[in-house]
């Protein structure tokens, strides 16, 4: 089992969600985050006070998946989230040791 985490541009969320549903990913968790990589921030000006804001709003998607699905999931996220411009984001893949469905108590692949 793998945990796939992707940081994407906020307006790409719907596209990525649909792409993941299309290949059979049943559930995802979404968080609003901020961060930066190579994409520069912006400057805000309030009367005389100038603020350089490095952090840009992003969206983080996490999905627990069956290892067999991994390549197709990465491809789906990449394809849906790409704009070609700086700041598109990254995909991180973690090994997932255990998953439990709370309602039924199922574990492992049955719980994904």
């Amino acid at each position: 089992m793998k945990l796939v985490t992707a940081i994407i541009k906020p307006f790409k969320l719907d596209e990525v969600r649909e792409a993941l549903s299309a290949i059979g990913v049943q559930g995802i968790t979404v968080t609003e985050v901020k961060g930066f990589g190579r994409q520069k921030g912006h400057t805000e000006l309030y009367r005389g006070a100038e603020y350089v804001v490095d952090f840009l709003p992003k969206v983080k998607i996490e999905a627990a998946i069956d290892s067999a699905l991994l390549d197709r999931v990465i491809e789906a996220i990449e394809g849906a989230a790409r704009t070609g411009k700086i700041g598109d984001g990254k995909v991180f893949v973690y090994d997932l040791e255990q998953v439990v469905r709370i309602r039924t108590g199922e574990t492992g692949k049955d719980a994904i």
């Binding site: 805000e44 000006l45 309030y46 009367r47 005389g48 006070a49 603020y51 804001v53």
Partner: protein, 500 residues
């Protein structure tokens, strides 16, 4: 501390109830009561009676307008100024700003009723009034059911003195709330209240007396009494300073106090390094809009009547604010490529501040020019001047109210001139005739305005310094570093604004 507060509250309560109850045995003849900005005609001079002074008749239209104006000014403070200031601070300090505005406002209103109105608007000396209206004694006679009249600027036209006192209460209170912007986000709540009480007593009330107290048009019954009546006016009024709604009394007065406070309280922790961006410019805009609308009461209400001069003040307030919004936006766009919401809101306030002393004293074109110039002046005040002054004037009280107040006060002397479309001023109150256009000297009037500005700056500066020192030595001005970091809402008031 708790016991002290409880006894203070009980004491004040008993004192007010007791003296208000006792104070209602006003003299039967209203003319005999010493009073307000303008007492009813004096009865001691046979000459005065011989020239058939008009009997005081309360004008209903004027009274209505004055009551409405009072409401508008109250709205300017709560919620207008509260939101304007509140939106500009970090969310962890939002409630502290709202509290400081609302509670200071309330405190000053109460003190105004107790003694403030008396020392500002009764006969006394050139710098302070007297104690004839302590606890508003004599302002109405509950047994006889009569109400003392207050003069306006027209002979024989009166409004109830109660309404005048209420109107002026809103002015005194909002002036003190202006100051809190300078030391927002780091000052102790109790220190704010104590400072405002002291400053109100020794700076606001006397300057209001100096600029606005006079004997009223009906006191000028004949040529023989003119000198005597003039001598009873406030120090700056006698000098001929023109301040329709309070450029000196309110804006410059408060701005200097704020600047002194900013120096003495010190900069916020992390100033210049940490992000201190406004948390809600949306609320700031709401506040600015409430200020703009309310300002019509502040300015046009200062005419004390619903007449042509109120109308002039009304339209000048309108034009100056609009022109200043444009000017600030243009200035910002030129300076940094973008006009900002904060700039537009600040521009409106800048124009309104500048037109405050001028509103009933200049023509419509003059008002537009004053507004337009103040937009640029305010922009400089919060940028270039702020850097020069080096103080952490959190919400730019001096940058906007000080700079634009001074500009407006001086330009009043320019555009008051009939040659530049202004109404001039009344030169002879016996006949209520204005100064002849040929006799008007812009240079002379601007000099008078400058003197008034100078007196206000020095007086307010000294009083503020002493008051802050007293508060510092007794209560302490600033909250602890941990409290400041955590936020004043939680540490001073036990609440969060946005439940995080």
């Amino acid at each position: 501390m708790k016991k002290f507060l409880i006894s203070l509250a009980l004491g004040l309560g008993l004192l007010s109830v007791g003296t208000f109850a006792l104070a209602e045995d006003a003299p039967a003849a209203p003319a005999a009561s010493a009073s307000a900005a303008a007492p009813a005609p004096a009865t001691d001079a046979a000459a005065a009676e011989a020239t058939a002074t008009p009997a005081p008749v309360i004008n209903k239209g004027d009274t209505t307008w004055m009551m409405v104006s009072t409401l508008l000014v109250i709205m300017m403070a709560v919620p207008g100024l509260a939101l304007f200031y509140g939106g500009l601070v970090r969310s962890k300090n939002m409630l502290s700003v709202l509290m400081q505005v609302m509670v200071t406002f309330s405190l000053i209103v109460v003190l105004w009723f107790i003694y403030g109105y008396s020392i500002a608007f009764t006969e006394g000396g050139a710098f302070f009034g007297g104690f004839d209206r302590v606890m508003l004694k004599g302002i109405w006679d509950n047994a006889a059911g009569t109400f003392a009249p207050a003069a306006t600027f027209s002979k024989g036209v009166y409004i109830p003195e109660i309404v005048f006192a209420a109107f002026q209460a809103s002015f005194a209170a909002i002036t003190c709330t202006l100051i809190v912007g300078s030391f927002a986000e780091r000052m102790k709540f109790s220190a704010v209240l104590l400072f405002c009480a002291l400053w109100f007593t020794f700076s606001y009330a006397p300057i209001a007396h100096m600029v606005w107290f006079w004997m009223g048009p009906d006191a000028y019954a004949s040529k023989e009494v003119v000198d005597a009546m003039n001598a009873k006016g406030g120090f700056l009024w006698q000098m001929g300073a023109l301040d329709f709604a309070g450029g000196t009394v309110v804006h410059i007065n408060a701005a200097v106090a704020g600047l002194v406070g900013a120096y003495m309280v010190g900069k916020r922790i992390g100033y210049g390094k940490e992000a201190m961006a406004p948390h809600s410019l949306t609320l700031t805009m709401v506040g600015a809009a409430l200020l703009w609308v309310g300002w019509f009461g502040f300015n046009a209400g200062s005419a004390l009547e619903a007449n042509g001069f109120a109308a002039l003040a009304f339209i000048n307030t309108f034009g100056a604010a609009a022109a200043a919004v444009l000017a600030w936006c243009i200035g910002e766009a030129l300076m940094r490529g973008k006009a900002s919401m904060l700039g537009a809101a600040s521009g409106a306030v800048a124009g309104l501040v500048a037109i405050t002393p001028a509103c009933g004293n200049v023509g419509i074109g003059g008002a537009l020019i004053i507004g337009f110039l103040s937009g640029f002046a305010g922009l400089w005040g919060v940028n270039g001047l702020k850097k020069m002054l080096g103080a952490d004037d959190t919400l730019d009280v001096f940058g906007v109210h000080g700079v634009c107040g001074i500009l407006g006060a001086l330009l009043t002397g320019v555009f008051n001139s009939p040659a530049l479309g202004g109404p001039g001023f009344v030169a002879d109150w016996v006949t209520a005739t204005g100064i002849a256009a040929a006799d008007y000297s812009i240079a002379a009037q601007v000099l008078v305005q400058a003197k008034a500005v100078g007196v206000t700056v020095v007086w307010s500066g000294i009083v503020s310094f002493i008051a802050f020192k007293i508060v510092d030595m007794t209560i302490g001005l600033r909250v602890s570093e941990e409290d400041e970091r955590e936020g004043l809402d939680i540490t001073s008031h036990g609440e969060t604004a946005y439940n995080r």
